[in-house]
């Protein structure tokens, strides 16, 4: 029965007690607001919504992602609790007080016999809306003078919610992660024995549990690979009891799955196809295998120049890029704090002038400062290979950061530099800083 399923989903006896005591006396006033938190896919929404549905309690479930404005939140809440007519009473651009007014108005016509619940999923997004919304919702019961409880669901702890001005403290409830044992007992496959399935899940968890605790994702992976697991059984090559053989068959397969389908390098449909026609599909390439980007000639040099500008201290430019730079004392060349790897510190912003100065010295031919050179810089920004830092006033010396990795730059400079020494020079310039 569904109720049993809910108790199966629940992780600890404690949360079970809390929830049942909260929900099982709907005639009485409930605690005004309940805050439930726990990691992704620990059953928060599932448990609450199933309980509310099974107990046939009046409730409104709203996901805060969908509510681009507070108005939508109010509209959906009223719609679910009181029907379409009530939502139409809201004015354009409703505020919290409009919501409270309308709520009281319709509530007077349909007084509560049972507690009404408002479930808000992904409640952390409420923090980005109007400042009075979250405190107002927390004491909604008081404001509308009705038997209503607000249940907030989030993956973030309550401490990160508390506004500066203080607010009503909700009842906190934690959904802990599922333990390995719990996951084993959650599912079963109708066509095979529970023992076989749980041994399959055991193998699956052996591979994936260290990287993923998300129940939804684990179930997805289990479903994707189960047919492969059962293959020897169906062919008659192994019996159910022969766990070792089954393990030997599936383990490398699962390891491959972790590198491909789990990371979404390969889509689940392609993965399924690959299982069917085993042999030829080994050549299936993932998304990141095609990291090569074709760029116009000068764009490549601009990107190299940007990389050098981002990771070189500006003081050393003279030494690297001016042909007769004069001697610099070796000891004073790099300051002590600069000796820590620049790649650990990340890219630093640089002004446009510096980028162009390095660009002109790196590129081998004379380049006219044409409009297209400048427009290439802005298209590199839209391609997210460069990022513009700070304000976007072009007249006021814009600053940029290089957003690509060392490997990317090395690949580019390898194909750009026809002559070997140039490449060596560039890579030397790059490596000196690592």
């Amino acid at each position: 029965s569904p109720k049993k399923r809910v108790t199966v989903m629940l992780n600890t006896v404690h949360t079970q007690c809390c929830l049942s005591s909260l929900l099982h006396q709907p005639e009485q006033y409930c605690y005004p607001s309940i805050f439930i938190y726990g990691h992704r896919a620990t059953g928060k929404s599932h448990v609450i919504l199933t309980l509310l549905k099974e107990l046939e309690l009046p409730h409104a479930a709203v996901s805060c992602v969908e509510c681009v404005s507070a108005g939508l939140l109010f509209e959906q809440t009223l719609l679910a609790l009181f029907g379409a007519d009530s939502a139409a009473l809201l004015p354009r651009l409703p505020s919290l007080s409009d919501f409270v007014r309308v709520y009281r108005q319709v509530c007077a016509q349909q007084p509560a016999k049972q507690t009404r619940y408002i479930v808000l999923e992904r409640a952390e997004l409420l923090r980005d809306m109007e400042a009075n919304l979250l405190p107002g919702l927390l004491r909604l019961q008081e404001l509308v003078d009705d038997n209503v409880a607000v249940i907030l669901l989030s993956e973030i702890v309550w401490d990160k919610f508390r506004p500066n001005t203080g607010c009503f403290e909700p009842l906190l409830l934690h959904f802990p992660d599922y333990t390995k044992g719990k996951i084993l007992s959650l599912d079963s496959n109708p066509s095979y024995t529970p023992e076989l399935y749980s041994s399959y899940i055991n193998i699956l968890l052996g591979v994936f549990y260290s990287v993923c605790r998300d129940l939804r994702e684990l179930r997805h992976l289990a479903a994707l690979n189960f047919s492969k697991f059962c293959e020897p059984l169906e062919k008659g090559e192994a019996k159910e009891g022969n766990t070792h053989k089954l393990w030997r068959n599936i383990e490398p397969h699962l390891k491959r799955a972790m590198q491909t389908v789990y990371l979404r390098e390969v889509s689940s449909v392609q993965w399924g196809q690959q299982q069917m026609d085993e042999k030829e599909a080994t050549a299936l390439r993932g998304l990141s295998a095609l990291a090569h980007v074709e760029l116009p000639y000068y764009s490549k040099f601009l990107l190299i120049a940007a990389y050098l500008a981002s990771y070189n201290p500006a003081r050393t430019d003279r030494r690297f890029f001016v042909k007769h730079h004069g001697k610099m004392k070796k000891t004073s060349f790099l300051k002590k704090h600069e000796k820590t790897s620049n790649h650990l510190l990340g890219p630093k912003p640089f002004p446009l002038d510096r980028l162009l100065a390095i660009f002109y010295s790196v590129v081998d031919s004379r380049v006219a400062p044409t409009a297209s050179v400048f427009s290439q810089i802005s298209s590199l920004v839209t391609l997210q290979l460069l990022t513009q830092v700070g304000h976007d006033d072009q007249l006021d010396t814009p600053k940029y950061k290089c957003a690509v990795s060392l490997d990317f730059i090395l690949a580019i400079s390898r194909c750009v530099c026809v002559c070997e020494t140039k490449y060596l020079f560039l890579t030397f310039g790059l490596w000196l800083l690592t």
Binding site: E217, V269, D353, Q384
Partner: protein
């Protein structure tokens, strides 16, 4: 003050005023002394129409494959939406949104055409519900939602925030902007659609079952430019409704597919079922365009080597955009027909003959002054020379003959060019270039057989083994087959003879497979001393024959009489228009005002500015002498001195170089003009100083 007195209202007659200037007028007005402007415009227009149509067809052909596979993917997804079962596996699996990652290359402006044909295809064969969105119109989630809903439902969807038009939207008409609204709309639309199944224009696909629930395709044109937060939230929302709405996404990716993982965190990308589609690389695309538009005798209009070089280098160095390349070609076409009066002869055979007959006396004079025609005259007999210089009718006839020769030259040139390229393209290190356009450009510029590269290519060819050589010759024969001229036919005949002779050699001798890299002179010398085998003799003979073909047909067009009629040569104009240098122009204007103003007073030696120059030029010149920070007061004093000199004041006078209110105002104005141009800006580092934004100078 003549000008001010002429400043009364002049009312032109109403008739004249109504006449709008057609585009063809520009051709007439540009060179009003010759009467064939309108004809040139018509020829140009016709040619451009043809080129445009050809490129569009080409584009469609090139995109066909990727679009086909994309359509297959969408159809497959639609089917899987419909056949969704409630078995164990599908219940366990996470519900993913099918997504196509379409990698199109960095030339973002070119993508528009691809997306246009994609949405046309979708509308015709799969679903009426497809929307495309761009990043710039979706800065926030609500904008994105609004765009998607608007375009799907075809009605204005209000976002609650825009208060201004509250009077227009009546409250009951208001549709709030959420996917649940879309869900309801979709349900009603598909219900209606099912009822009117027979009548609807989606009938073509009804037998495939698409009609029952056509998918909603959302195309994100420029994936990289989207705000990651907006995309993430949108995907999260859509995922909640995936069981009710058959949504499919298409991401237009410019860089590499791994950006999907950079932009979306795992929690979001795990909601997508991403499949990859890669389009043709843009360099291949360019090669096909050049092949179809430039390396053909079909169009009478031609580009010289320099012009082609400009267009290709803009493509390779700057933008990778085929669209811009074709636009550049269009500009060259327009410029040619606009600036060259004799381009009236640059058209199809019949038309050219007709136009040559109609040449006016002035035109004939122009023909006589063409350098190529003068060269031609010099080679003629004295009697003929006199005829050519005196009789207009005779020139017209000769013109027709020469044009015919030019056409023949082109008909022979391109097949031989392709042959030479196919022979040399597989040689190590590509002595004559990897791409055919490189070979074409070098053939256009000089006698290709005189270059070192050609010599080394021939040497390498003389080392080819028999099977390689025969295969290459077969390819050449295939290229020559469609040729219609006599010379091409006889060349083909000879080539086939050689191939047969090579085959007859079989069995007589054992072949040595020389490695292609053994092209050292030593080897050659040692071979010369040896007695040559029959194969070697035949090989040399064949290659001499090919060399002869090259020498007779791949002469540069400059040597052809009347080539100016067909060839556009002003590469400088093209470069100035297509690859503008605004900064250099501004600097020229400021440091050499004579260049643009053409006022004799302003003419000075290099590096100096006349004191009579506009204020901004003087201020600019003075600012070049300063460092990074400029003291405004010093600058003003220097300016006042220069201007006083211009006024012709006595250097010893009391008020020489003194700052009065007028000079002060003029100075401030020119400094703010410089600031507007981006040369200086105000700074807080030091009072009364401005910072220089450019470097260099004195």
């Amino acid at each position: 003050m003549n000008e001010s007195s002429g400043c009364f209202v002049f009312k032109p007659s109403s008739k004249k005023r109504k006449r709008t200037v057609g585009i063809d007028e520009y051709f007439v007005d540009g060179n009003d002394d010759c009467g064939n402007g309108r004809e040139r415009f018509n020829i140009c227009q016709k040619l451009w129409e043809k080129i445009k149509m050809d490129t569009e067809i080409l584009q469609d052909e090139l995109n066909e494959k990727i679009l086909e596979s994309l359509l297959d993917f969408i159809k497959k997804c639609t089917l899987s939406f419909q056949s969704r079962t409630d078995d164990w596996a599908s219940r366990m699996r996470a519900s993913e949104i099918p997504t196509a990652a379409l990698v199109l290359g960095v030339n973002v402006p070119d993508h528009d055409m691809t997306f246009q044909s994609l949405s046309d295809l979708l509308k015709n064969s799969v679903t009426p519900f497809s929307v495309s969105v761009q990043a710039k119109e979706c800065t926030a989630l609500k904008n994105l939602m609004q765009r998607v809903l608007e375009r799907l439902m075809g009605v204005g969807v209000s976002v609650e925030e825009d208060e201004e038009d509250s009077g227009i939207h009546l409250p009951q008409k208001r549709v709030s902007c959420s996917i649940s609204v879309l869900c309801q709309w979709y349900k009603t639309v598909t219900k209606v659609g099912r009822r009117t199944l027979k009548l609807s224009h989606y009938k073509t696909c009804s037998e495939n079952g698409f009609l029952q629930s056509p998918p909603i395709v959302v195309i994100f044109k420029d994936f990289e430019a989207f705000n990651p937060r907006v995309l993430q939230d949108f995907i999260l929302i859509c995922n909640r409704y995936i069981h009710e709405l058959p949504l499919i996404f298409v991401f237009g990716i410019a860089t590499s597919p791994s950006t999907v993982q950079h932009i979306l965190p795992h929690s979001v990308s795990s909601l997508l079922c991403i499949e990859l589609f890669q389009s043709l690389s843009c360099t291949q695309h360019l090669a096909t365009v050049i092949d179809k538009l430039i390396l053909t005798s079909q169009f009478p209009f031609k580009l010289t080597g320099k012009v082609l070089q400009v267009l290709v280098s803009i493509f390779l160095y700057h933008d990778f955009s085929v669209r811009n390349f074709v636009k550049g070609l269009q500009l060259a076409l327009l410029e040619h027909f606009h600036s060259q009066p004799l381009s009236v002869l640059c058209c199809k055979k019949q038309e050219a003959r007709h136009n040559a007959q109609k040449l006016s006396h002035k035109d004939v004079e122009m023909v006589r002054q063409l350098p190529s025609f003068m060269r031609y005259v010099e080679t003629q007999e004295p009697q003929e020379q006199v005829q050519l210089l005196t009789s207009d009718d005779h020139v017209k006839e000769v013109c027709q003959m020469l044009l015919k020769g030019l056409r023949k030259y082109h008909k022979n040139y391109y097949p031989i060019l392709r042959c030479l390229h196919s022979l040399t393209a597989s040689l190590p290190k590509y002595p004559l270039g990897k791409q055919i356009r490189e070979l074409h450009i070098s053939c256009l510029e000089k006698n290709v057989w005189e270059t070192n590269e050609y010599e080394s290519a021939m040497q390498l060819l003389r080392l080819l083994a028999k099977d390689e050589l025969v295969a290459a010759l077969r390819k050449c024969a295939d290229i020559l087959k469609p040729g219609k001229t006599k010379k091409m036919k006889s060349a083909l005949q000879q080539l086939e003879d050689y191939i047969i002779r090579f085959e007859q050699l079989d069995g007589k001798i054992s072949l040595k497979l020389y490695s292609q890299c053994l092209c050292t002179k030593m080897l050659l010398r040692s071979r010369r001393t040896k007695k040559m085998s029959p194969f070697e003799i035949l090989r040399n003979e064949t290659l001499d024959f090919i060399d002869g073909l090259v020498r007779s047909h791949l002469t540069p067009p400059e040597l052809q009489p009347l080539n100016e009629v067909c060839y556009y040569s002003s590469s400088g104009v093209l470069r100035r228009h297509l690859n503008a240098t605004p900064r250099t122009s501004i600097q020229t204007a400021l440091s050499h005002p004579f260049y643009f103003l053409q006022n004799e007073n302003l003419k000075t030696d290099a590096g100096t500015v006349s004191s009579a120059a506009p204020d901004i030029c003087i201020v600019y010149k003075l600012h070049l002498e300063c460092g990074r920070l400029i003291n405004l007061y010093d600058w003003l004093e220097a300016y006042a001195t220069v201007v006083s000199a211009a006024e012709g004041k006595d250097p010893d006078a009391e008020d020489y170089g003194k700052v009065d209110e007028l000079k002060h105002a003029r100075f401030i104005q020119s400094v703010s003009e410089l600031e507007f141009l981006g040369f200086v800006k105000s700074t807080k580092q030091k009072t009364d100083h401005v910072a220089r934004l450019t470097w260099g100078g004195c």
